[in-house]
């Protein structure tokens, strides 16, 4: 559905996008995960035709020019900044955008109804946007992107500044849209959003894609091993006996044991815990730490995403 090849974009001395290539399949929810300033919004703007790349090629639904009217009709965008008219009501915002896309009559009414219902704002359609909470504005920002029934949806940090309730509602909306077959490009710097919503994720840093795969594929490749931490019950054994019984149970001896506290790294953490139980080694406490996108990001960039 969307294909980008070797995209480059600079703003003066700043090389914002450095040779990005990606392919987003039809009906896929594709995540661009990266810290602020990684180049995610610039990438979306390039793909949406809002900016012209310095070099590289973009193909959307077979067309190499995203600024063509036929192509634009297929794209909906919810920009990071709330792109709404605050002095218009929710319905007036949607109606205005619908008319720009040539909708009229019953079709326009139907699409307004759909967009407002999906975003949970049907009851408050007559209220001015300026009276809405941040979460409601975000939902309307999404609804405004849907009025013309796009095949492709660009969502640029759609949950920034949103309360947990509205965030969950947005997640439900996005899942619903994905199940309707809409192709979604989703940028975020929240790894849990990428994990929960995206079929595939590209990790961006300094204008480049460092890794691109399904979430579990990324974790497998870049997440490293899971960590098992447990406090053992077998207090009557001495340290040497404990170490040898543990090694016998899990079949390896590259673990740490200090004052009954075990720490081991494993590709199969659950299986290792089961083996300990089978060997009769009792556990007082157990903590399992699986690698996630945060670990992947840390391993790829040397810093944590949350620190941004």
């Amino acid at each position: 559905m969307i294909q980008a090849t070797e995209l480059h974009k600079s703003f003066g001395q700043l090389h914002a996008v450095r040779g990005i290539s990606l392919e987003i399949r039809s009906g896929e929810t594709f995540g661009l995960l990266g810290a602020n300033g990684a180049g995610k919004s610039t990438t979306i703007n390039l793909l949406a035709g809002l900016m012209e790349p310095d070099s590289g090629q973009i193909v959307i639904d077979g067309s190499t020019d995203p600024t063509r009217r036929e192509v634009r009709r297929q794209i909906g965008i919810a920009p990071q900044s709330l792109a709404l008219y605050e002095d218009l009501t929710a319905e007036e915002n949607i109606r205005f955008l619908g008319k720009l896309y040539g909708l009229a009559g019953n079709k326009l009414k139907e699409r307004i109804e759909y967009s407002l219902t999906l975003s949970g704002l049907a009851e408050r359609r007559k209220e001015l946007v300026t009276q809405f909470s941040g979460g409601m504005k975000r939902r309307l920002n999404l609804a405004a992107a849907l009025v013309h029934e796009p095949k492709v949806l660009f969502l640029d940090e759609p949950t920034v500044g949103v309360d947990p309730q509205s965030r969950n509602r947005l997640f439900d909306n996005i899942r619903e849209l994905a199940s309707d077959g809409i192709t979604i490009l989703y940028t975020t710097h929240y790894m849990e959003e990428a994990e929960r919503l995206c079929d595939r994720v590209a990790i961006m840093e300094q204008g480049q894609i460092l890794a691109l795969d399904r979430v579990d594929g990324l974790i497998d490749q870049y997440g490293g091993l899971a960590v098992v931490e447990a406090e053992l019950k077998n207090g009557h054994l001495d340290a040497a006996q404990q170490r040898s019984s543990l090694a016998a149970a899990i079949g390896k001896n590259d673990f740490q044991l200090e004052a009954n506290k075990l720490r081991l790294q494993s590709k199969e953490p659950l299986e290792d815990v089961a083996r300990l139980a089978q060997a009769g080694i009792g556990l007082k406490t157990l903590r399992l730490e699986r690698p996630d996108l945060e670990t992947v990001f840390l391993n790829l960039t040397g810093r944590r995403l949350r620190d941004e």
């Binding site: 703007n45 035709g49 794209i75 218009l88 720009l100 896309y101």
Partner: protein, 429 residues
């Protein structure tokens, strides 16, 4: 076209809810027209005239004739009494001027009448005091008084009967006069005798063509095509000026609206829609144009309804309003193109358009400005806007004569459009 109209009507809906913008576009110009209209005399009355306190200490026929002539002057409002209703004295008249209540005072001294028509006696001078702060009016008042005094002398020589009587009276007084140089006395007696004889034989209408008749020296001709074509009230001057302020409000409001589309992110939605850049700009321009036309038409209609402002040339007025609206729409585009933020737009507008409005006669009528300023005012769209509107409402300009101011307005608008579209299209989303 429907997309352009959709953009324009969206902007109009937004404008309808912006109370501050509505104030500057609609209410402020109306308040301006009313305030300056009433300040300049409104629909009549004495407020637009030089206010002169007069003190008649002479109470002679001569002083009464002089004061009656002053009262008939279009430029003067003559007051014999103070606010308290008591006749002015020299002191109370001076105090009224000193306090700024009146512009000037004139004292007709005792004995003025006796000597006013004398051919040889030294007359008693009139005493004139003018508010030192009113320097602009001082020269005008001097002129009006000199004209009035001179017209007294003119009366003597254009009426043979009156002139003979005065000559005879002067001869009789001369006979009684003592201590005069005999040679000087003889010369005067010869002159007055000859003058009396001449006037005694002259036909009553003969002196109307004499060199003393001021009409023979100065003939007032109408500047306007018809005598009716002059402003009947100050409102016929202030309402055209107020239109320029309404359009100035439109410029700022819509230029800010364009910049806000960018700063608030809604421009992304417009750019992502099937709208072309030209359609976006045209939609914005159409909204500004429609509001400019509406505010101008509304102000002129209110002026007509409330203060009887005439429309001599309705087609010309429509042409003037449309040209001005186009001009200001173009300037709005240029302003939006130059300004990166809302603050920059309002700052630039104040820095550029306020002075242009001032020098163009938007605040003080061009007629009151020095010659060099009137020349400079040619660069101001305000001037051409006012010239076009006045041409249509009371100057009685023909459509051909309207072409110059309207053409200048259209040219300025086109230049503004060109610059604006060029700069706007270069800006990032």
């Amino acid at each position: 076209m429907s997309r352009i109209i959709t953009v324009a009507f969206k902007d109009l809906t937004v404008l309808r809810r912006e109370k501050e913008a509505l104030f500057w576009i609609f209410l402020f110009p109306l308040v301006f027209a009313l305030f300056f209209g009433f300040l300049s005399g409104g629909g009549g009355g004495d407020r637009g005239k030089l206010q002169l306190a007069v003190v008649d200490e002479d109470h002679s026929d001569g002083s009464r004739v002089l004061l009656d002539k002053l009262r008939k002057s279009d430029s003067l409002a003559v007051y014999d009494e103070s606010v308290a209703g008591t006749p002015f004295t020299a002191e109370s008249a001076r105090n009224s001027v000193r306090r700024g209540s009146l512009t000037a005072f004139l004292i007709v001294p005792k004995g003025y009448g006796e000597t006013a028509e004398s051919f040889w006696q030294e007359g008693k001078p009139l005493e004139l005091g003018i508010d030192p702060a009113r320097t602009a009016e001082a020269g005008m008042l001097d002129g009006v008084l000199m004209q009035t005094i001179y017209s007294d002398m003119q009366d003597q020589f254009t009426d043979p009967k009156k002139a003979k009587a005065n000559a005879d009276k002067a001869l009789a007084e001369l006979d009684k006069a003592s201590g005069m140089d005999p040679q000087q006395k003889k010369l005067l007696k010869d002159f007055l005798g000859d003058l009396g004889k001449f006037m005694g034989h002259a036909n009553p209408g003969a002196m109307e063509h004499s060199p003393f008749a001021v009409e023979n020296k100065l003939k007032k001709v109408p500047v306007l095509l018809e005598e009716e074509n002059k402003p009947r009230s100050a409102f016929e001057v202030t309402f055209p000026s107020s239109v320029t302020w309404g359009m100035y409000g439109c410029i700022i409001t819509f230029a800010i609206s364009i910049v806000s589309e960018r700063t608030k992110g809604t421009l992304i939605r417009l750019r992502m829609s099937p709208l072309s850049w030209a359609e976006i700009v045209a939609g914005k321009g159409l909204a500004c144009f429609l509001v400019s036309v509406f505010v101008a038409a509304l102000l002129m209609f209110l002026g007509h309804l409330l203060f009887g402002i005439r429309v001599e040339n309705l087609l010309g007025l429509a042409l003037a309003i449309i040209s001005a609206a186009f001009c200001y729409t173009g300037l709005m585009m240029a302003l939006a193109g130059f300004g990166k933020t809302e603050k920059a737009v309002s700052g630039s507008a104040a820095a550029v358009f306020m002075p242009l409005a001032m020098i163009g006669g938007g605040m003080i009528p061009l007629a009151f400005m020095p010659a060099w300023m009137q020349t400079v005012s040619n660069i101001s769209p305000t001037k051409w806007n006012i010239v076009a509107l006045e041409g249509a409402i009371w100057r009685g300009n023909s459509l051909v004569e309207m072409l110059l101011p309207c053409g200048v307005l259209v040219a300025i608008g086109a230049a503004g459009f060109g610059l604006g579209v060029r700069f706007l299209s270069r800006q990032k989303v």
